[in-house]
């Protein structure tokens, strides 16, 4: 076999291994494509309890946006962590927003009452909010910095540590 062919095969195998290593070391809960790193769009949606809810854009606050539904079992699993972290930051510069995704307002209202969701929650009636954020499936949580840029997303049920780490890194960045 000629030397150049052997070299090409070695380089091709090395490139394949590198691609596989890079692909597998990425956490499936943290897909950094689409809207991550881009400014969030200011949205005005209908609140579940009535009235309007505006979020997104530059607010000078850290915003945590959580997409959920009453039919979503993993959403119920992550909810206690969300409630605990919300209580921890409720008097601070951190804002929580819930977005009801592909669900009826009645079911959403029952869900927030039954699960202790006291942060403002809006209804994504036609999927436009989920589309603008690039939601794949719920539960999905987005971290928006004080500058209004979407700094990160978590796909799947989120835990308390991930929530606190996400919030604290953005608070530290905002204070610089």
């Amino acid at each position: 076999m000629p030397r150049w062919l052997r070299l090409t095969i070695v380089v091709a195998i090395a490139a394949l291994v590198m691609v596989l290593v890079l692909a597998f070391r990425r956490a499936p809960t943290d897909i950094r494509t689409g809207t991550v790193g881009k400014p969030s769009v200011a949205m005005n949606v209908t609140r579940l309890e009535g009235g309007d809810l505006t979020f997104g854009g530059r607010t000078d606050k850290v915003v945590v946006v959580n997409f959920f539904a009453s039919w979503c079992v993993p959403c119920k699993e992550e909810n206690p962590a969300l409630v605990r972290v919300y209580e921890r930051y409720r008097a601070s510069d951190v804002v929580f927003v819930g977005v009801l995704y592909q669900d009826s307002p009645e079911n959403g209202l029952k869900y927030i009452h039954d699960n202790g969701v006291t942060w403002p929650t809006g209804i994504d009636t036609d999927g436009r909010i989920a589309f603008s954020y690039g939601v794949f499936g719920i539960p999905e949580t987005y971290f928006i910095g004080a500058d209004g840029v979407i700094a990160g997303r978590h796909i799947g049920p989120i835990d308390e540590t991930t929530l606190v780490n996400g919030i604290e890194s953005l608070r530290a960045k905002a204070q610089k």
Binding site: P2, L5, D126, G127, F131, G134, F136, G137
Partner: protein
Amino acid sequence: MTRSRLLIVVALLAVLAAVSWSARPRAETPAERVDRITSELRCVVCQGLSVKDSPSESARQMRDIVAQRVAEGRTDDQIRDEFRASYGDWVVLSPPLASWTGLVWLVPIVALLAGLAVAWRRLRAPPSTLPEPAPAEVAALRERVAREEALDVVADTP
């Protein structure tokens, strides 16, 4: 020209006219545009299905968004770019050439060219020739053959 030849020419002209008529450029209806664009977009909650083919609620909402954008007069590129802004290049079923996903198109072409190059070199290479055996080797082989033939003669003798 005989009558049969005239009929053949007329038939060929008729076929040509029919093909030209069916292939004439015509304006796409908005519904056809929505179908075409959604067939090029990936359903984000499915396995390998387009937005057009998926029965999921997410795909239905995406079809509605495409229909609205078409009604607003947006171009195909503007609609595709909006989806790519939300979901990245992944959402386009045919990855664009001008990004790293363009490797999907380039790698098979490069592999094919490399294979052709190898095949070409092999075909052009002179046939491999075996080195002449040394006279001592030839003599030894001849002696071995003669010995084995002599043994065969002995074994065949009744």
